[in-house]
Structures are given as C-alpha cells and as structure tokens.
C-alpha cells in the first residue's frame, strides 16, 4: 500500500474523554467503531481509498472488537454485503468512490433499499467532484432520490461528523432505510481534532454468533413483496425519516440579525460559505453568521416544515447547492409553493450550475445575492470592494505574466512500467497507422494525455474490452485494441469484457496491464497481486480456463518484444480474442521496498550497483523525440552548454530509477545514440577496482595516441 496507517490506527483505540487528532478518513473510521458497526466492506478509490487502507491496517483492533472487514472485489460486492442488515440487527457500512462506485453498486443498492433494513446500513461515499477529481462529474444525489435512500452531507467539522455517523445508523434503523453519507475530497483529507468515545463492540459477531436464520418473505425482492415494499417506503419509511431528522435536529439553523434574508446550504459547503460571509463582513471567525443559515446535513429528504419554517418571513433566500441538476433548489421552490410562501429562492442564478464551489465561487455568489437582495444594515460598499479586489488581483497577475502557465496534469511516475507499453504502441502506429484504442480506468488512462495521446474512449472501470465490441466491426479488417488494468480485469473486466468477447466470437486485441495492484488508488492488493498474503489468482490461468488460446505475456519494459507481440496480435490471420499481458510491478511499490534495502546495503558496506541512464549532451541534437516517446518525469530538458546550440538538450535527472526504458526506446525506435546506461559500483571490491584501473589505463593510452 502506498500509505501505511500502522501508527495512526492506534488513535482508533482512544476512549471516553480522550482527544483524537488526525485525518478525516481516520475520524470517519473512528465514528464507525464508536457506533458499534459489525461489518464493513468497500472498494478503494480516491478520496476514500485511505478508509480501506486504515481498516486493513487496523485488523488487530477489528478482531478484538469482532468487526468483520472485507476489501470487496468491486462496489457491487461491497453493496451486496449490506444484505446482512436486511434480516438482522447488524450495523454495516460500505465505502467507495462516487459517482462511479455508486453506479457499479446500484443494482445491489436498489434491491437493498427496496427490501429495507433492520440493522443500520451506512454507505460512505467519497464525492469525487471538482479540482483533484479523477472521474466524470455527476452527483450521487439522484441515486438517493430514485431508490429512496437518505443522503447526508455533513458539515466538515470532525466532531459533528463523528456524531452524525452514529445518528446516521439510528436514522437508518428508525426508518428501515439505508443511508448514504457523502464526503467531498477536501473533507476526506482534512486534519482536525475531536473528543473521542469508547468503541462499541457489536452485539452480534463471530464471538456472539446468530443461531437461526431469519425468513421473511416481505424482505425478498420479488412480486408481490416488491409492491408492498414500495408502499412501505412512502407510507412508513419516509415519514419515519422526516420525524427522526426533525426530532434529532440533524439539520442546523444558525440565527443571524439580518433575518429578512437567509441562506440554505449543503452541509459540506458550510465552512466555505461561512468564510465567504466572514470576508464580506457578514460572519465572525467562529462560525457565527449575521445572515441566518439553514445547514442541511441531510440533503435528502428535505423536511418540509424545516424549510418553510426557515423561509417564512424572509424576502429572499440563497440556495447554495453544488453541481447539477439543482435538485435542492427545485425541491425548496416546490415546498414553498405548496406552503403558499412567496420567498424568492436565488440559487443557480448567482452561483454556477456546473463546477466545484470553491472559495471564490461562493464568495462571488454570496456577494451577488447580497447586492441583489440588499438586506437592511449590510455594508454593500465592503461587499463590492472585496469582489473587485479579487478580480483585480487575477487581472494584474494575468497582465504581468502574459501567457497562462502550462497545465500540469498527473502522469506516469518515474520508471512506471506502463509508460513503455505506450511507447511501443506509438511505434506500432508508425508502422500500421493510427489504431482505435478503447481505453480503461487506471493509471494507464494517463496514456490519453501528452506526450502519448493514445486512447479514443473511456467507458468505465474494467470496460475497456466491452467498449471495443461495438466499434470493432466498423473498422473492418483493421483490428481495434482495448486496454485493461489488472484492477479493472478483476473488478469486472473478466466477465463483462473477456467472457462477452469469447461468447460473441470477437476478433481483436486486449492488452492487460498487470502491475500487481490497483495502483492509481494507492496500490491496494487485488486477487492477482504477487504481494498478496491472501489466496492468489492468476490472470493468465483465468483466461486459459475461459478458453482464450492466444495469450502472450511480455515484460512491459521490453519495448522491442512488446512492439513485435502487439504487431503480431494486430496483424495475425488467426481470428478471435488475442490477449497480451504486460507485466511490470508498479514502480512506486517497488521503490518503497527497494530504497530502504539499497540504503541498508550501502550502510553495511556491501557491494551494490546503482543503475541510471544519461544523455550525452554533445550527441543530443535537441529534437526531443525521446521525450515524445517516453514522457518520463526524470527525462527532461536543460539549457545546452554548447554555445552553438540554442534549443535545450535532453537530460536525465537524478530521480532516474534506471528502469531501462530510455535504452529500450532508443533501440526499438532506432532513435538516437545519445543515451547511455551507467552502472555505478558502490563499495567496490578489490577486483572491481583492479579491472577498472586496468581498463582506464588502456583507454587512456588509446586516447593519448589519438591526440
């Protein structure tokens, strides 16, 4: 795993009266344990990967408490685990990245929500939206609405979050409904503190097991029970939820002096809103606004009386709701109409319909609202000044700098085993022309960025092959290529992609990028991880067992072999699915093992060879085609020290891990003789030194002869 929480998990043991100080994800985990959760399942993905990592590292504590944790093969499996709460009073939690994870889980979620739950079921989703997100931009909100699950969006205060996790289980039990709790990226990574309570061991656990299975036909998702379940949702569960939310004050009202206006805000945006108000002179630094605020820690369902009660007597209310569609704004408007209130709701009119609500976006929206609504006693001049200043700063910077600074999207790491694969594909394209590539989700999606720009579509995790089947026939004889990571392969690519391709007699190429982990999410273990202590599965064996006959496994750094193999796969007369497995361990994971080992070797005085690559500056002509075929962060440019060369020359910096790609590409592409490999012998032995000196002497003699 990329990050170890071995030290931090000790914080999870804190009891009554102690203080926790740490990252948001740990606080959420602590909240689950304090609420007496009995099982947790999940699938990794930013921004909630760390929750999986924390639970993995907390195995000891979980065993003590009798909590079962399962890193699921995909989100659908994690959601399906929650079935335990349908029949039994077990509190369960599932966690994943949303909206994509929720998409995958939605079949199980619909059935779970229809059956209803006895034990509290809580789904923690990382709402991967805005800056730093790595997926399509959609809201989880719609899933809650369509399946009648409740959606919580707690304000990012760790103490309140932990408390609301416990309330969420109670809400779920009081209304027999699963609850989704969403956390935005920054809230997951926030470092804060709160007073802890002791963890609660679940009443039912392997130590105190169930004795008899529960059977209740009404909990089965089959007609006629499903009709009853739907009725139960609207007649019982919905009202019960409203009662609980209201009576337990899950939403919060912050009073303010300018009560002719007000603001309704999603809990997750609360702190951003308060800071904006503070900047405009409309709040203090301790979270006390002068404009009244209704903070929705539960964004679905809305409690009608809370909304109408807040809006009654107000001329205008600002609705701060991130993303689209504007479900909340529409719902609030409908509630007011039904209550015959004519408070004006201003939302997307002053705030953007799409995109993250960052500090300046909210600041500008609030300012526009205040300037439009003109509450008595508000100093409008200050509001105007603040906004003008921000605009002025950006304008000045832009004018002084002239051109915008270059973007710096994420890319393959130094020595990444995936980069050479795309170098090989680029070389293949020189021979056979452009290839349609159905890309997939994973680090390998970075191939779509410069310098490779390879990949024509991305349809979802593990769907690389499935997303090629429609387009492949349209290319006639020329095969299309699809890509899948080992993560995507086990997540669902084996079934949705490989099995479908075999069943339908698909003729095309699948490239499986096997780096041993779900690397993009932080190198969690998957069924084929070599590093896994669990039961190990083999991609090759799985393919063979299904009946794939054309399988070639290639070391990913061997660009020449990869090029030849892909060429054969693309052009072989043999019909059917051709799978190339590119093997190469994630370099981040490898370096985490290798570096300490290397340091220890050096310190122990043992002979150790360090390999790295370099460029002969005098041989480099500065055309940078090596960079266009590699893109390694350690392969960069530097000013030429040759006074005759004005273009910068290629240069390998000291981050080089000596993966060998530079040499492979130089050779496979017949690129350029500038590259060299240098092996530095640390702690050389007697023979090392002797041979070296002899060679140096001979070479020196030759050189003198020439002079």
């Amino acid at each position: 795993m990329e990050r170890s929480f071995a030290k931090e998990v000790e914080l999870l043991r804190r009891g009554d009266g102690e203080v926790f100080e740490g990252e948001g994800i740990l606080a959420i985990t602590k909240g689950l344990l304090q609420a007496g959760v009995s099982y947790v399942g999940g699938y990794q993905g930013a921004p909630v990967s760390h929750l999986i990592d924390v639970l993995n590292d907390a195995k000891g504590l979980l065993d003590e408490l009798g909590v079962h944790f399962e890193p699921a093969p995909n989100e659908a499996a994690a959601a399906a685990m929650l079935a335990a709460s349908i029949n039994y009073p077990l509190r369960g939690a599932a966690v994943w990245k949303s909206v994509v994870g929720t998409n995958v889980a939605s079949d199980a979620l619909s059935n779970l929500a229809s059956a209803g739950v006895k034990g509290g079921a809580l789904i923690i989703v990382g709402e991967d939206y805005g800056e730093g997100a790595s997926i399509i931009q959609e809201r989880t909100h719609a899933f809650a609405m369509k399946s009648s699950m409740w959606l919580m969006d707690p304000r990012p205060d760790q103490a309140r979050v932990v408390e609301l996790i416990e309330r969420a289980f109670e809400l779920s039990e009081a209304s027999n409904t699963p609850v989704i709790m969403e956390f935005r990226i920054r809230a997951c990574h926030v470092h804060g503190r709160f007073a802890t309570k002791s963890n609660k061991a679940p009443a039912i656990s392997p130590r105190n097991p169930l004795t008899k299975p529960d059977f209740d036909y009404n909990r089965i998702c089959l007609p006629p029970a499903t009709y009853l379940q739907e009725k139960h949702k609207v007649q019982h569960r919905f009202p019960a939820a409203l009662d609980f939310i209201r009576s337990q004050k899950l939403n919060e009202v912050f009073a303010g002096v300018h009560d002719e206006v007000g603001i309704i805000v999603q809990g997750g945006i609360f702190n951003t809103l308060l800071r904006a108000l503070e900047q405009l002179g409309l709040a203090d630094s301790f979270g006390n606004p002068s404009i009244p605020i209704l903070c929705l820690n539960v964004t679905y369902p809305l409690v009608p009386e809370e909304v109408t009660g807040f809006c009654a007597g107000k001329r205008a209310v600002l609705m701060v709701e991130e993303g689209n569609p504007d479900y909340l704004e529409e719902a609030v408007n409908a509630l007011l109409r039904k209550a015959d209130l004519n408070t004006t709701i201003i939302g997307k009119k002053v705030l953007p319909m799409a995109g993250e609500y960052t500090a300046d976006v909210v600041l500008e929206g609030v300012a526009k609202f205040v300037e439009g609504a003109v509450p008595k006693g508000v100093e409008l001049a200050r509001v105007g000044r603040t906004i003008a200043r921000v605009a002025d700063l950006k304008r000045q910077a832009k004018e002084t700098m002239g051109a915008p600074v270059p973007k710096r999207p994420p890319g393959f790491c130094v020595g990444c085993p995936e980069r050479p694969i795309f170098s090989a594909i680029k070389l293949l394209e020189r021979e056979v022309g452009p290839i349609h590539i159905a890309a997939d989700i994973g680090c390998h999606t970075f191939s779509t960025l410069p310098p490779f720009n390879l990949g024509n579509s991305v349809l979802g995790y593990g769907l690389g092959l499935a997303s090629a089947t429609g387009v492949a026939p349209a290319f006639g004889e020329k095969r299309v290529m699809s890509i899948m990571g080992d993560g995507g392969f086990w997540h669902n690519g084996l079934t949705s992609g490989v099995m479908g391709a075999l069943f339908n007699g698909y003729d095309g190429v699948l490239l499986v990028v096997n780096n041993g982990y779900t690397s993009a999410t932080g190198q969690q273990l998957i069924p084929s991880s070599a590093a896994s202590p669990r039961h190990k599965l083999s991609i090759e064996k799985a393919l063979t067992a299904l009946g794939v006959s054309w399988i070639k496994t290639v070391r990913s750094y061997s660009v020449g072999t990869m090029l030849a193999t892909l060429r054969r796969a693309m052009t072989s007369p043999e019909k059917g699915l051709k799978v190339v497995i590119a093997e190469g361990e994630c370099q981040l994971a490898r370096q985490r093992r290798f570096r300490p080992w290397f340091r220890a070797q050096l310190e122990a005085g043992k002979r150790t060879v360090r390999t790295r690559f370099g460029v002969d500056e005098s041989v480099c002509t500065g055309d940078h085609s090596c960079i266009r075929l590699s893109g390694c962060p350690s392969l960069t440019v530097k000013p030429a020290s040759d006074p005759l060369k004005i273009d910068p020359v290629a240069h390998v910096n000291n981050d080089c891990v000596g993966c060998g790609l530079c040499g492979e590409v130089a050779e496979a592409a017949a690129l350029c003789p500038s590259f060299y490999r240098a092996e530095v012998v640390h702690n050389p032995g007697f023979w090392d030194r002797l041979v070296w000196r002899l060679r140096e002497a001979a070479i020196g003699a030759l050189q003198r002869l020439a002079a």
């Binding site: 951003t272 002239g402 973007k407 002509t621 500065g622 050779e667």
Partner: protein, 497 residues
C-alpha cells in the same frame, strides 16, 4: 478587528514532499496550542501532477479561547491568503494566476527553479516558457517575496527542499510559532532528521537574508564563446566568437581544411548580409559538423567524456562506473559513410521492401571496456574517409543550396534571407527523426522558399516563417501539410487573380 485565522497555501508537484511539509506545519502549530486545520487534494495528482495543500492556523491558543472553536475553511480564497509556499516557479505562477498572492497580505516563498511540464519538454524546438514574467509578477504582487533558486544556489543545493521551505516559513515570522517547535516537529517525524534540520536552518537564514535577485535557470547555459582566433578577424565583430567556436569544432570534427571551407562560406554571406553572419556562423557550424556514426564515435570516446558521465551520475572518486551505449546502425547510417557510388547503391537497395527500417544492428556497447572502447575508437579514426562519403556529398550540396538561397534572398529582402537561415533548425536528430526533418526541409524549400525568392515581399517572407513554425509543431509534419496546403491555395488564388 477580530482575530482571523492565518492561512497558508502550499503548491507542489506530486512526490515532492508537500504532504510532509504540511504535517510538520500542523504538528508545530498543535504543539504551540494553536487551533489548526489542514487539507489537500492529492487524488491522482500525486502522480507527478500539480497539487495543493491548505493550512489554517488560528493565532489565539486553545487555552486563551477557553472552549471557543474557530471555524476553519477548506479552500484558500483569492486575496485572503497570508502565505503562499511553492516548490517550483510555475506553481508560483499558478498561485499568482488564481489571485492567491496579494500585495497587502501575502508573503510568497518560492523556489524558482524549473521542473518542466510535458508540453514544454516535448516541443521539437524550445517549448520552455519564460521565467522572467512570473518572477516580475511575484515581486510586484506579493507583500513580501522570498525567492530562491533551490537547484543552482549552493546554499540550498542538495538540501531537502521541504525542510528549507519550512525554515523560510518559520523565518518569515508570519506565524506565531517559535522556531524550536518547528524543529521539534522535524525530530518527531523521525525521518532524515539531521538533513532536514540543516535544511530548516538554511531556510530560516533565507527568510532573514533572501538573495537579492533570485536567478532562475538561464535559457542558455554558457552564453557566447569567448575565445576568438585571428582566422575570423575578417568577419563582422558579432560573428567572430561564434565563428571561432565553429572553426575549432570543425577542425576537430574533420580537418583544418574543412574549417577553412567553413570560413570561406561564412565570408560569402558576411559580404552580402553582415547582420546575418552570426546566425549563419552558428547554424553552418552545426550543420557542417553533422552527426554521422564517425562523429558519434568521436564524441563518445572523447577524453573528457567519462568525467562528464561520472559527474552526471554522481559517482564518487573511488567508485567504478560502467557505461553502456545503445547503438542501432542501419542501412542509412552505413551507406552514409561509404564512398558515394557504393553508398548510393546500398541505399537504393535498402529503400526497397522497407529494408531501411527492418534491417538494423542493435548493439549495446560498453565503452568502459577495452574491447568496446576500441571499436568506437577505431570508428572515430575513420574520419579521413568522410570527404568521399555519400552523406558528405549530400550535406555539402544541400548546404550550398541553402547558402545560395540566402545570398539570392539577401540581395532583395533581408527578412526573407533571415527566414531561410532559420530553416536549418529543421535538420536535427537521428534515424527516422532526421529523415522526417530532412523531408520537411526539402518541402519547405521547394514549396515556400523558392517561390518566395522568385517573388519576394513581406507576405512571401511571412509564408516561409509560418511554414517553418508549422514544421516544428509536430514531428509527423501534419501542421506543415496544413500550412502548405493553405499557402498553396492562396498562391493559386493569387496567381488566378
């Protein structure tokens, strides 16, 4: 005025230690009993992309607040950041661009070295953005700008950058946290404590006495050559140092006679267009010292080379270094050094059936072994055969064509002549890259330069310039195709009119 939280925005690249820096800052603030909150957006940005960390620290201690809890935000707000700390110049530019640096509030601490973005590195010519405008904006827009060059200034070279930045944060005095608590945070984190403490001290000193002009990497490393010889005395003054370097290089490359040929050619241009002489001197020297396998062997067996390599890979004096070269000579490279007739025949044979790409001899040659070195050394000794070789004849003919075009153009339109000089920049690289550059050069010559010389004028000159820039946009020549197609239609249209 009520107390407000102090805000710190850290901009870094994935893997640069921004997270550790943030953790130190949080630990120090906590130890000072100040309410603190940090957040970040690592996501996949940690895979070498730009990322930010954001910290808020309330300046009153928890004890003084007596249970009151300040509200902490998760986003920096433009115009409202007390301190912006960045690990690289373009990240400073990004913070400036977003309005996070303001003259009445922000202390900007920036390492000004460059880590080039992919788009900057991958350009065929020079895609690097200019550093100076960012530095100017940094000085103009920050309340206080502490700028330093972490990679060239020797006080910081080799120091852990995040520790230096922590020191500068402490030394700037913006945060009410004593230095000892920052140092304690480093000790508690327990990783490379001594090195980090040294970096911290350097950072504290930096904030106290920032270097007056934080230089950044110069666009050109060594500037103009300084040694001149008598041989170049007849040339315009501005061309002399470059020409002297050219003479030195070509004498080493081939012979004194070859160097004289260079000077004669240069004199021809200097006569008709003295202002073009420096640039022609530069381009012509590079061109005449074209890289065939003999040249590559010569450069790789040069005496100073092993020392350059050893310095580059940071080998210590007693550590042996083995160097392996990657060579893959093919038909073109061999034909290039064969006598004209033979070479041309071989090339004709090779051009059939895709043999040029298929038939290559990949070899990994160890130039630190006697056998490996000797082979390259012998190859380098073959330069005497070069003047009779196929490539030599081809290059000299093209050079002559280029020089004549410059002369002809200079007589009528100096701007056009200047553009023709610049087209030599297209001829770069090895193998496939070189072949494409050559094809682009030929197309440009035939389709833009020849027509321009025939009918010069500002529009004709601009056409050559556009075509040259297009040729440098992508290696496949797509932009050049588009440019020449557009030009072609324009020319046809003009002719029709």
């Amino acid at each position: 005025m009520a107390t407000r939280p102090l805000s710190v925005l850290i901009g870094a690249l994935g893997g640069e230690g921004g997270g550790v820096l943030t953790d130190w800052l949080v630990a120090a603030a906590s130890a000072a009993d100040l309410p603190v909150q940090s957040t970040s957006i690592p996501g996949v940005a940690q895979r070498t992309g730009a990322t930010t960390y954001y910290v808020e620290i309330h300046p009153e201690t928890n004890a003084a607040l007596a249970g009151k809890r300040p509200l902490m935000a998760l986003y920096p707000c433009p115009g409202d950041v007390d301190m912006v700390v960045v690990t690289e110049l373009v990240e400073a530019g990004r913070a400036l661009e977003n309005g996070y640096v303001s003259p009445d509030k922000t202390t900007l601490i920036a390492a000004t070295h460059r880590v080039y973005a992919v788009v900057e590195k991958a350009a065929m010519g020079d895609g690097r953005i200019k550093s100076e405008p960012i530095l100017t904006a940094a000085r103009a827009l920050a309340k206080r700008a502490i700028l330093f060059d972490a990679s060239h200034d020797k006080s910081f070279r080799g120091q852990p950058l995040n520790a230096v930045l922590l020191g500068a944060i402490a030394g700037s005095g913006v945060l009410p946290i004593p230095h000892a608590l920052f140092e304690e945070a480093i000790r508690v984190s327990g990783i490379a404590v001594e090195a980090n403490l040294r970096g911290f001290a350097a950072g504290v000193e930096l904030a106290k006495n920032p270097p007056p002009e934080a230089a950044t990497e110069p666009p050109h490393a060594s500037g103009a050559p300084t040694v001149t010889t008598e041989a170049v005395a007849g040339l315009p003054a501005a061309a002399r140092p470059i020409a002297a370097e050219g003479v030195r290089r070509l004498a080493e490359y081939q012979s004194e006679t070859y160097a004289r040929l260079y000077l004669d050619r240069l004199a021809r241009i200097a006569e008709v267009a003295p202002v073009l002489a420096p640039e022609v001197a530069r381009q012509l020297a590079l061109w005449m010292a074209y890289e065939d396998v003999i040249r590559v062997a010569q450069l790789k067996t040069a005496r100073a080379r092993i020392e350059t390599v050893r310095a580059e890979v940071r080998a210590r004096p007693a550590e042996p270094v083995h160097v392996t070269e990657f060579l893959k000579p093919g038909i073109e490279e061999i034909a290039a050094i064969l006598p004209r007739g033979l070479g041309a025949a071989l090339l004709r044979w090779g051009e059939r059936k895709n043999r040029l790409d298929r038939l290559r001899m990949p070899m990994e040659l160890r130039t630190t072994t006697i056998w490996g070195f000797s082979r390259l050394w012998l190859l380098a000794r073959m330069r005497g055969l070069r003047p009779r070789s196929l490539r030599y004849a081809m290059e000299q003919a093209t050079i002559e064509r280029w020089l004549e075009a410059i002369e002809r153009a200079a007589a009528r339109d100096e701007g056009l002549a200047r553009e023709i000089v610049a087209t030599a920049r297209l001829l770069k690289g090895y193998g496939d890259t070189h072949r494409r550059g050559r094809a682009n050069f030929e197309r440009l010559f035939a389709e833009a330069i020849e027509p321009a010389i025939a009918a010069p004028g500002p529009e004709a000159t601009a056409r050559v310039k556009r075509a040259r820039e297009a040729a440098l946009q992508d290696p496949e020549g797509r932009a050049l195709d588009a440019a020449l197609a557009a030009e072609g239609s324009r020319i046809t249209k003009a002719a029709a009119e």
